[in-house]
Amino acid sequence: MNESIKEQLELTFKAVVVTIPEDTRIVVNVKKDQVLAVLRFLKDRKFDYLALVSCIDWIEEKEFELVYILTRYMKADEEHTDQKSLHLIVKTRISRQGPQSETATSIFSNAEPYEREIHELFGISFEGHPRLTPLFLERDYEIPPFRKDFDTRKYVEEVFDKIPFVEDKDK
């Protein structure tokens, strides 16, 4: 199964690099403009569940890495096996300068909250996303807080430590 998916991917797309680190993991490194095509290709081959969209900040290489994890559920007419389910990890790199990517919501609609989260915490804008509104954060941050150059210590000292104690003042 693993080998056949690897072969199919390598035949269909030229620039993909497929590695198999474990029996149940296949890592697919693709170029930025091929992500959606690869996701759609895998969805057609029954990997129809997007488990996670994540992001990594490689600050020394000045790149963000987007990670899509795909897997599948057992179908009703399938015979049960003890094998663990296969996870496909699609990785792509985008530039840290003005980071931008295309949204995967057209293929997997459950990518929406993940992409909103990444937009909020890493500042990556997703083209064509239906609503990139704030999700978790209440305050405004100059640098999105999950980037590696965001200094949490300095931020806490400037914001939360500056707020005085109420009872101390009265003494």
Binding site: E138, F150, T152, V159, K162, P164, F165, V166, E167
Partner: protein, 191 residues
């Protein structure tokens, strides 16, 4: 009923009634709330101590804050606290509300909860055992007896400072002040 307490009951019946019927608002923050279900159900049975969880802040007079408080959670905490009828008591549960705990350097977690609302007691630990809640409650009884659980009075007296701190953390608040503050009394006088 304990016979030694008859004089206390005769002196201040309302206070004694408050003390033995602490209604805790079921407000979940962070991980500490996992200790509350065993406390209120049959294993530790908090009703022995007169504690019962209630659904709305309008019926509650004990507020347990059970874990780290993010900036987003701070807003409902303040609103819940302000809706509770007096007398009301707050207890910070776990090390995170006390000084941030493991969220000391967090970009989105407020560190000292007592900068924003008054706290009557703290339960230290990460996590505290359910028994610690009962120890805290018996301490709270002592404090109520001695009129030292006066968080709601301190809140009224220092409301301006609390409100300023809340606005420093949350930006402009969309609800009006609970008590008249110096600045808005002035504004009314000028009109």
């Amino acid at each position: 009923m304990d016979r030694n307490q008859i004089t206390k009951w005769l002196k201040a019946p309302a206070k004694m009634a408050n003390k033995y019927s602490l209604h805790a608002i079921y407000f979940c923050t962070g991980c500490g709330i996992i200790e509350v279900p065993p406390v209120i159900t049959s294993r530790w049975d908090a009703e022995r101590f007169g504690i019962i969880p209630v659904a709305t802040p309008r019926q509650a007079n004990l507020f347990l804050i059970t874990g780290y408080v993010s900036v987003k959670t701070l807003k409902p905490i303040i609103r819940t606290y302000e809706q509770m009828p007096e007398p009301k008591y707050t207890v910070g549960f776990g090390s995170c509300p006390i000084n941030g705990g493991m969220y000391w350097d967090s970009y989105n977690t407020i560190k000292h909860l007592d900068k924003y609302i008054p706290i009557d007691g703290w339960i230290a630990g990460c996590m505290p055992r359910p028994e610690a809640i009962f120890i805290a409650v018996t301490h709270l009884w002592t404090l109520i007896d001695k009129d030292m659980a006066n968080g709601y009075i301190r809140y009224r007296e220092n409301y301006e400072s609390y409100r300023r701190n809340q606005e420093m953390a949350l930006g402009k608040l969309e609800w009006p002040p609970l008590y008249p503050t110096h600045s808005n009394v002035k504004a009314v006088e000028n009109e």
